[in-house]
């Protein structure tokens, strides 16, 4: 089954097959081999004692029994035309393409077979596989495990009376939604296509954008029970082979029941599972994935998950958006800078406000201090309580608006806006400036392109508030130092999370932090250790960007 997908994937580009099969590292290949063997067996149940027999009826019953005689397992017996030989097909009707089964397997054998097969054809088996079945992929199998696994993925098993072996024929049907717009990562100027749940469509979306024969899709199977395909994608002559091997090694080393989404897979293969910062990037945008691949990163797709996993990732990479590359570099830099400000505001603004108002009012201009004091006069709670109250409310609102169906979602925003904005102030529970601060914080968190990252800022907000109210600005700075050390120590697949902010390298810094001016875009970011270091030719005079 693995081979079926591999073969299908390799059809996309010339020279591709050698890449996936031939030239990978030896260790890598070895581990892959072991994994393949492991994955050909089904966890829990043992079918070792069941063997294919010469009797067609027995075979069909055995296989059906092995799969608990479920209603959707279809078996059809028929006679090869003009002969006394019976054959049978087994498939699962909802995941196999019944048209293919009938058109390309049953039809040729049942109707047209007499044209070719003699009654006593000694090489009947070979003739069928070579001349009769017109389906795209056929494989001879003997083990029941393999057959069942294939049936479970939508392939069809063809069995012929008198043989202790049969064929697996690919008849998979992919049921899924159409390619739609990316919901979580909308973009103004970028493409409007997002990944779907079918790995086949997703690979197609990437292929269409990157017509490079060096693009490698390495297929692995994951999960004791789910047996889902995981595709590791990278560009062979750009990505650092160490990182690629590391990714593949980690995926193969997993022994889990199964994952349903790329995010889950990411949590399983991440460097430090306890990190509150996302150490992998999830994206539903094919264009962003392609961009990541060209930066020398590795993408991971999983069947049934509408997201690609991009690794390694660093903090500045998280703050990038696709739109950055669609605008003039000055505008793009400003946009990106505003996102950094958003990140900072979202994490620290409430803490700084609390620290300044309750410990160091002298830092602010006198008039402002008076205004704040005036607005806070008669408030029952200290600033920290107000802030936590607002913070909890906002967190609940955000959570509620995700859970509610879109139709009712409107109500939440109205109720939330009115209750928090107006009523809380009028009732004298929360000061108006605190409302402004909370709103700014929330807006700041919305500017962060990565959802997990904005959740991380939410997680550190309240600890910082507590530090601020107990130790003032000194506590906040100590907290920031701690956070900085924590981030500096994080690694994503061997790449430090803080790179390229440290160590300094001007070309990386310029690309990642601010601009995307062409003259600074000649080299690939070096911190991902790409093999092919140069992106494009040196900017020339008169090509529009260079001067």
């Amino acid at each position: 089954m693995l081979n079926i997908l591999r073969k299908w994937l390799s059809k996309g580009g010339r020279g591709e097959k050698q890449n996936t099969e031939g030239e990978e590292n030896k260790d890598n290949q070895q581990s892959q081999k072991n994994q393949t063997q492991n994955n050909q067996t089904i966890y829990g149940q043992k079918y070792q004692n069941i063997k294919l027999t010469r009797n067609l009826q027995d075979n069909i019953t055995n296989i059906k029994n092995a799969m608990n005689n479920n209603f959707d397992i279809k078996a059809k017996e028929f006679r090869l035309r003009g002969q006394e030989i019976y054959a049978g097909v087994i498939y699962i009707e909802n995941i196999a393409n019944e048209d293919t089964v009938l058109q390309h397997i049953v039809n040729p054998l049942m109707i047209e077979s007499s044209l070719i097969i003699d009654r006593d054809d000694p090489i009947l088996f070979k003739t069928i596989i070579e001349s009769m079945v017109t389906a795209e992929y056929v494989k001879v199998v003997e083990s029941i495990d393999e057959i069942i696994l294939a049936l479970m993925s939508g392939d069809t098993f063809l069995c012929i009376q008198g043989y202790e072996k049969g064929f697996i024929i690919s008849t998979r049907k992919y049921v899924g939604r159409q390619v739609g717009e990316p919901i979580l990562e909308p973009s103004v100027q970028g493409s409007q296509e997002g990944f779907t749940e079918t790995i086949r469509d997703n690979v197609g979306l990437i292929r269409r954008r990157l017509r490079d024969p060096n693009l490698v899709f390495s297929v692995h199977q994951l999960g004791r029970r789910t047996k889902l395909e995981v595709v590791v994608i990278y560009i062979k002559d750009i990505a650092d082979q160490n990182i690629v091997n590391d990714v593949i090694k980690r995926i193969n080393a997993l022994d889990i029941e199964g994952v349903q989404s790329a995010a889950q897979l990411g949590l399983h293969i991440t460097d430090s599972p306890n990190s509150i910062f996302p150490l992998f990037q999830l994206t539903e945008r094919p264009d962003r994935t392609v961009r990541g691949l060209m930066e020398g990163r590795v993408a991971i797709l999983i069947e049934g998950g509408a997201r690609a996993l991009l690794v390694p990732v660093t903090l500045p990479l998280m703050v990038q958006s696709v739109d950055d590359y669609c605008e003039n570099w000055i505008i793009a830099s400003i946009l990106r800078l505003s996102r950094y400000v958003g990140l900072f505001v979202s994490a620290f603004l409430p803490a700084i406000y609390i620290a300044v108002t309750s410990h160091h009012p002298g830092m602010l201009p006198n008039v402002l201090v008076l205004t704040i004091a005036g607005s806070r006069a008669g408030m029952p709670f200290p600033a920290i309580m107000e802030a936590i109250l607002m913070e909890v409310t906002i967190a609940m609102l955000q959570e509620a608006s995700i859970r509610l169906p879109r139709v009712v979602g409107q109500t939440v925003s109205i109720v939330g806006g009115l209750v928090i904005g107006q009523a809380a102030v009028q009732a004298g529970i929360v000061g108006p400036i605190m409302v402004i601060i909370t709103a700014l914080t929330a807006i700041g968190s919305f500017t962060i392109p990565d959802y997990s990252l904005s959740l991380a800022t939410r997680a550190i907000r309240i600890p910082f508030m507590i530090l601020a109210s107990t130790l003032g600005i000194f506590g906040v700075s100590m907290g920031m130092l701690l956070l900085l050390i924590y981030i500096a120590d994080l690694k994503s697949f061997g790449v430090r999370y803080i790179r390229p902010l440290s160590p300094y390298r001007s070309s990386d810094l310029r690309q990642i932090l601010v601009s995307s001016k062409k003259s600074s875009m000649i080299e690939r970011p070096i911190f991902l250790n790409p093999q092919d270091k140069q992106k494009q030719s040196e900017a020339k005079k008169g090509d529009g960007y260079g001067k």
Partner: protein
């Protein structure tokens, strides 16, 4: 990456931070007390002395490229004599780390958090520093990399903003009947550059040793420059006589700035926040050096280093809180710095010559 190395720029940052610490707050006061308005000349000469000390030191480090200072001393001078030579360095490093923490906590109490007790600040600073030392050298390098621009930009902003208050005449007369004092104060000027030896604990992690050595020599110039400039500015703003009674002139400097935009009323407490990054960085470097010293002195194997780090969490605050009042802090701080001369021009040359002879003999054999 597995074979992570400190880049040349990180060596530069470490060099700057190893010298540019809490001293930037007190340099003008200390020096002006000794030589009045000519303090800056002594500092420049002290800077020259720094290079005179640093270049042979670098030579010593290059004799043993994969060892750090305590290891070199133990190798060159042997088990017992080496430990005797190492002892003053150990005491100096740990005292310096403790004293600078205390000095800074005191400054913070004066300018930022007047209600928080000093011991809380000292302990917090030490614990956070312990956290980064507990991680590896490369994390340390990354953290210092981020803090470097913050600290330097703060210094530059302070200097630029102070320019509106200066009266250049206050620096005059230059060298008028003062030459003797200026020369006498070269050694105290050199005290403020204590910590140039901290590089010895990091140079062995450098990716490119040759350019690392260059950036070390270049990095030494940065603190000299900033000390001289802050001293000159302080003299020009306050004049020499008042400086003798201002304990933290650099912080007071920000107090004197009239901020036209009036976004922040008290710039000095705002500035004090940014000083934290500066002082913290130098504390981290000395913390790490001290941990290395103790580990080598007691031959503690690598896997027990974390206990040495933990022991420092206790030891450093005790040292820092030892002086009962701020008066004693300055006294002790000065005394600790005398040791720097002993180390820089006593122990280092002895070890260097010894090492050179030993190497030569080894070559001959």
């Amino acid at each position: 990456m597995e074979n992570e190395k400190l880049t040349t720029s990180q060596i530069f940052v470490i060099t700057v931070f190893s010298i540019l610490g809490v001293d930037v707050l007190v340099v003008p006061h200390n020096m002006v007390t000794l030589v009045d308005q000519d303090a800056w000349i002594s500092l420049i000469l002290g800077g020259l002395l720094l290079y005179i000390g640093a270049i042979p030191f670098l030579y010593l480090l290059n004799l043993y490229p994969d060892k750090d200072l305590p290891q070199i001393i133990l190798q060159v001078a042997g088990k017992w004599l080496g430990r005797i030579l190492l002892l003053p360095i150990i005491i100096f490093v740990v005292m310096y780390a403790g004293m600078s923490t205390r000095l800074f906590a005191q400054a913070l109490k004066l300018f930022l958090v007047d209600k928080t007790p000093i011991w809380i600040m000292v302990i917090l600073l030490v614990i956070v520093a312990a956290y980064v030392v507990y991680k590896d050298v490369h994390t340390m390098g990354a953290v210092l990399d981020i803090l470097f621009p913050i600290s330097i930009v703060t210094l530059i902003i302070l200097i630029v903003l102070s320019l509106q208050n200066i009266e250049p005449d206050r620096i005059k007369p230059i060298l008028f009947r003062n030459t003797k004092n200026v020369l006498k104060a070269i050694i105290p000027g050199f005290y403020h550059f204590a910590g140039f030896g901290a590089i010895s604990y990091f140079l062995r992690y450098a990716a490119n040793r040759k350019s690392a050595c260059k950036s070390y020599l270049l990095g030494l110039g940065v603190p000299v420059f900033f000390y001289v400039v802050t001293t000159v500015i302080c003299i020009m703003v306050f004049g020499a006589p008042p400086l003798k009674v201002i304990v933290y002139p650099t912080l007071n400097l920000s107090k004197s700035i009239e901020f036209e935009a009036a976004i922040l009323d008290r710039l000095e407490s705002f500035m004090a926040v940014f000083w934290i990054s500066l002082v913290f960085s130098s504390l981290v470097l000395f913390y790490y050096s001290s941990v290395r010293n103790f580990s080598e002195f007691f031959s503690i194997p690598g896997k027990y280093t974390k206990y040495v780090i933990l022991a420092h969490i206790l030891m450093l605050p005790i040292i820092a809180l030892l002086p009962p009042s701020s008066l004693y802090v300055f006294e002790l701080h000065d005394k600790v710095k005398y040791m720097e001369v002993l180390i820089g021009f006593g122990i280092f040359p002895i070890v260097t010559v010894w090492a050179a002879i030993k190497k030569k003999r080894g070559m001959q054999q």
